[in-house]
């Protein structure tokens, strides 16, 4: 069979980093091809070049037998390339049909378009109401909008950038049905992910990138997930060491907690209750946008809740702000590293002062003790292996993974009684993620209680003792992680959010 897409020696350099270095691979019509690699391996740059968002410095692309050098996404779409973005390219204040129309070259009149959206979305098991505002849709439904937008253009090649990171396991299953159906109809799919089991079930070919270079091409079904992971990382993986822990008394108790939405399209928290014992790790899973940020904000004290809803070691702290809570031993590390957990333009030392003054002696008579602050920052850098020239460097100069290690380390080293983290390893490479998880486990082993909010179910299964699901602002009753199956978790996460399987 001839190749649909053939790429040779594609190179793209940014100041200071070669994102792609002589990358070459090919995709046949109807093939589901995986592009594997860690964050920063160059996957996104590569597909942006195929989609015409980035121009390569050198190298050639051929699409359907012809030389292919799209000047912009329109040219790529015209040739038959469609892309579903990792961070959705959707407009919240516009409705579904308008969003679809924006991604098309020559959209039909709105009424006809709405009809076609209904047809296509039902045919592929992705029901959508064209008149609804995208801002009111769940993450899974938003992704359907993106996919339907692509399908309406009869693409020959569909690029999917990390499509499952926002889906429940059931939704993933339905997505895979849709993709298999497309593949059977002859559409090639370029599938970017770092979820190896998914790739092993879905893909027939894989190209593995590391530091901008192709390090291997293989059939993922013939490899184990571990082998694939080691090809991605280029080293053997450490397994997290999960020591037996003794559970102590209840340290944090939340009952009947409700909170209004933080943002216009955000969810509200509805009647949350949980109990957390010393030495315990509670994993809270859920698809993004179901109340994770809100939960962290209310536990950290950024958004105090009604009196009597949150108590720490028997004391009602519901009305307290972040600093009094820190003083009592409740610390938090929010998801957004730059701008929420750390101030981008301030140095690491200054960022250490921001959360550290309550529990560390970083001030003297109301003045900042620069020496002590620097010592604390250096201690974090040392203990958490943060790669940086020093504590004087601005937070924004650090890579995502390094800053994440710093942010987590800053809280861990303050010896919290309770630590709440949201997405502790989001966008962090495998080695750094493993060390962050280990740090959280070590902290629990020392007797602290940890709440880990994450969308990465494997991560939660790895570190937590109990698992709860957050779905549309409601928290499920917790269940011990041991013996919990992925199907059960999926049901806890709200199942398939009203999706149906594609009529095959």
């Amino acid at each position: 069979m001839t190749e649909l897409l053939k790429i040779d020696g594609l190179t793209k350099a940014y100041p200071g980093v070669v994102a792609n270095d002589g990358v070459g691979f090919s995709v046949r019509p109807g093939e589901v091809h995986a592009l594997l690699g860690e964050n920063g391996a160059g996957k996104s740059t590569l597909v942006k070049m195929i989609y015409g968002l980035v121009k390569p410095d050198s190298g050639t692309m051929h699409f359907a037998g012809q030389s292919f050098a799209p000047a912009d996404p329109r040219a790529a779409r015209a040739a038959g390339v469609a892309m579903v973005f990792q961070h959705f390219s959707l407009f919240e204040a516009l409705n579904v049909a308008e969003n679809v129309a924006l991604g098309m070259e020559n959209p039909p009149p709105m009424r006809q378009l709405a009809k076609r959206i209904r047809e296509i979305s039902t045919a592929y098991g992705l029901p959508l109401d064209p008149a609804r505002l995208v801002g009111d849709l769940s993450a899974g439904e938003r992704q359907r909008v993106e996919i339907v937008r692509c399908l309406l253009q009869d693409p020959k090649l569909l690029i999917m950038d990390e499509p499952t990171s926002v889906l429940t396991p059931q939704e993933v299953e339905i997505l895979f049905h849709t993709l298999r159906k497309l593949s059977a109809e002859g559409t090639a799919i370029l599938y970017i992910s770092h979820k190896l089991e998914e790739i092993r079930t879905l893909c027939e070919g894989a190209t593995i990138l590391r530091a901008g270079k192709v390090v291997a091409s293989c059939n993922p079904r013939e490899k184990t997930a571990r082998e694939l992971a080691e090809l991605m990382v280029g080293a053997e993986l450490k397994v997290t060491d999960r020591a037996e822990r003794k559970l102590g008394d209840v340290v944090l108790k939340v009952s009947g907690l409700s909170l209004a939405p933080l943002s216009q399209f955000g969810p509200s928290l509805k009647d949350l209750s949980l109990e957390l014992r010393a030495g315990e790790v509670l994993g809270i899973g859920g698809v993004a946008g179901n109340g994770q940020e809100e939960l962290l904000a209310t536990l950290s004290g950024e958004r105090p809740s009604a009196l009597g809803t949150v108590s720490l070691m028997g004391e009602d702290i519901s009305g307290l702000g972040p600093n009094p809570r820190r003083a009592k031993g409740l610390l938090a590390a929010p998801e957004e590293r730059l701008g929420h957990a750390a101030v981008p333009a301030m140095s690491l030392t200054e960022n250490a002062i921001l959360t550290g003054t309550m529990r560390k002696p970083l001030t003297r008579n109301g003045f900042v003790d620069q020496g002590a602050a620097k010592t604390f920052a250096d201690e974090i850098i040392q203990a958490f292996d943060v790669r940086t020239p020093g504590s004087h460097v601005a937070a924004r100069a650090l890579s995502g993974g390094n800053l994440q290690k710093y942010v987590i380390g800053r809280e861990v080293l303050q010896n919290p009684a309770v630590l709440v983290v949201n997405q502790p390893t989001w966008g962090v490479d495998a080695a750094a993620a493993a060390s962050i998880r280990q740090a959280l486990l070590d902290l629990a082993a020392k007797g602290a209680a940890v709440i880990a909010i994450s969308q990465d179910l494997d991560e939660l299964m790895e570190i937590s003792d109990r698992f709860s699901a957050l779905n549309e602002g409601r928290l499920s009753a917790s269940r011990p992680t041991q013996g919990l199956t992925i199907e059960e978790i999926g049901m806890m996460l709200g199942g398939a959010h009203g999706m149906q399987e594609a009529a095959v």
Partner: protein, 310 residues
Amino acid sequence: MIVGGIDIITLTATLMGASTPVLLAATGELVAEKSGVLNLGVEGMMIMGAVAGFAAAVATGSPVLGFLMGAIAGALLATLFAFLTQKLLSNQVATGLALTLFGLGLSALIGKGYEGVRPPPTAKIDFGPLSDIPVLGRILFSHDWIVYLSLILVAVVWYVLRSTRAGLILRAVGESHDAAHALGYRVVAVRFAALAFGGALAGLGGAYLSLVRVPQWTEGMTAGAGWIALAIVVFASWRPWRVLLGAYLFGGITALQLQLQAAGYAIPVHILSMAPYVITIVVLVILSAIHRHGVQAAPASLGKSFHASS
């Protein structure tokens, strides 16, 4: 029809003219803000339009050329703003404020020689027998062409934003410039066009002030109309018909308070002069507060700088 010393028909008829400068400026600013750019230089663009239009009309004797020149002057100033904020990524708020100060100063300089000059008159459109209809004729068919143009522009802007592809792209750019860029739309080009359109309408509104409303040139004659236009856009929740409502409310109360002064009511003149500003803002604040819950009115990218980094 005279109620309490106020002639209601005359009042309604003057209302439309009095509202036109603010209506034009607010409609233009609505388009600019829908594209995601906050241009606080409306006052500056209006007064530049006022002086340039006045000068051109006096020099050529043609008010039409005057209006055209006013629009061009406003658009030029807006393009300068677009270059600074979209190409050089300067802060939109600071640049807008500077634009107003710049416009006020430059217009005063240019206008020095025109003080006390009378501009060529702008004729009212002759609707023939239509304007003889009692009540309605006076109210609807006794105006100059700019008044009707401003109403048509509101309708056109409403239709284009709601129902055309160009309008959809403009709204998309204002909602999320990153997403629009990812889909291959030229964010900066769209914003340049929207800003230039907004500037042209502000300039036209200014020219209407100096050529028809007053009609003469005085320094600082816009007297805050540009700021009211900005406030109207916000409190009208970025909707064209509400902009029309806000502008006519402002114009109406302006006309009313002048008549109240003339009718000799014992209300302090300062309170009367203040009334249009206060009442317009209060009414629009109430309107936007009882706005349908859950729908965000402001374009999500409003005031944010866009830089195509990836």
